[in-house]
Symmetry: C2
Amino acid sequence: MRQHITLREVGLRDGLQIHPTFMPTEDKLAWIAAEAASGMREIEVTSYVPPKLIPQFADAEAVTLGALRIPGLTVAALIPNLRGAQRGIELGVHKLNFVMSVSETHNMKNVRRPPADSVIDFRAIVELIKRQPANQRPIIVGGLSTALGCSYEGRVAVSQVVKYATQLVEAGADEIVVADTVGYADPNQVREVFKAVLAEVGKIPVAAHFHDTRGTGLANVSAALDCGITHFDASLAGLGGCPFAPGASGNIVMEDLCFMLDSMGFDTGVDIERLIEVRSLIARSLPDIPMQGALAKAGLPRNYVMAAARAVSA
Amino acid sequence: MRQHITLREVGLRDGLQIHPTFMPTEDKLAWIAAEAASGMREIEVTSYVPPKLIPQFADAEAVTLGALRIPGLTVAALIPNLRGAQRGIELGVHKLNFVMSVSETHNMKNVRRPPADSVIDFRAIVELIKRQPANQRPIIVGGLSTALGCSYEGRVAVSQVVKYATQLVEAGADEIVVADTVGYADPNQVREVFKAVLAEVGKIPVAAHFHDTRGTGLANVSAALDCGITHFDASLAGLGGCPFAPGASGNIVMEDLCFMLDSMGFDTGVDIERLIEVRSLIARSLPDIPMQGALAKAGLPRNYVMAAARAVSA
């Protein structure tokens, strides 16, 4: 049995949020449908922030409802606060991705409160979810951004990451995401942080969210795999980037990640060639968005046999 | 004591050889001098192929002699055959990098002989070197290209890599380079191949030469580090590419590699900020050459302290 790796497309949220041009709702839904058809089972489709703050997500309701029509897809959305959670519950989204920063400065700049207060907010969100009928409760994810470094504070203490991961799990998180929001991490640091987090909260899924800002993204994935991490965020064409570094790489590139995992013998469930084709939808919709990705330029290796077929013939 | 990693710049050879514009000799020498000044201790400066075949190396003599004037630098050059070795010996180059392909088809296309005949050529080169006075013998390196995949044959058997590595060492190689010439490798494959090679010839240095053609380059470095590999090729700005995939990424990016290694606590001896500055020499000399690199766009992490300084303060 090949080890299954759960991949989660975050380009529609993390990738689009800093892009100044609005991607039309129908293009977002076409992207979601095409990527789901390539085998992607989980997509973070939008963010329930006020449209005033990020106009890109003015169509959060329509995108959520459209995505929920796709069979077999887990539809996730980012929530910054209780109000976002309420919107998500009303829409019937499958999964709510709450995010707070481990770095105090980053959290203050982002949501104007210290991390300890974000944990209190998270508890209120979990309470809200628990008040829903059992069959209407979304999965609630506790996300820790800047967990491997902060563009204000630099290095972030591992003990702080573990502390907030533990508090979010105690508060009721179904899953934790540890994020290298600004792409500072190296493989040794990844092993240190993820081993420490897994030691405390490893009974629930711990996902990794890496950026490729300094080229180490897939090396960090490989290190996280060594620790036993099996859930990874990535974005098609590496959409994302960093407001602090114009032109810099963003999230790790989903196609490159899929290739690496497949080549290593993991089961991603994704058809890489169909996944690559989805890039053209983005390029047509947002011709000016910077698209990364090595595999899309180079193509699969000659005579490459997907892991699923190798497993059958072996 | 921090583990030292030996880095070797190959951009002047692997990076320039497919570029159609001749880089003026003085620009090559300025690049070599600036990169050596940043702390790079070994540079493959040219290739002793007939200028008819690759006009970029028409100035091989001048570049070699110029590079040899830089104190503390190990000056290496690629040799395709005995004649190239003869030229290198006459010039007094420090190190000769002989390359053969593990893939039969690739070797036939490149040097019009099966790999077994290339081993015979290598023996003759070693004999030539042994005939020199002891203080005039260059270091002789046996390089195995397409060792992790071939753009004609696809996957390459690990047993073949081990076989030719063993034969080159038995013939007298001072060092082996195992190269993923076309960027097919994943971290699991790297561990498999390098462990097998090290088990047979690990008494001499075994270096890794990775390309980032499909985005896995630094992940493969990390896997090779896990195996105990401490010698890595890379090129500034990732110069290189692949004649089979126009626009594709080339060698792993030296700056990104240096950052990853330094962040992991290894001692590379390279000043990353000075290294990044060398990119501007290339951009000025060859404005149309594609330059890769994430770190150069994003910059070092905030408050980043180089490993050497961290070691002092720890």
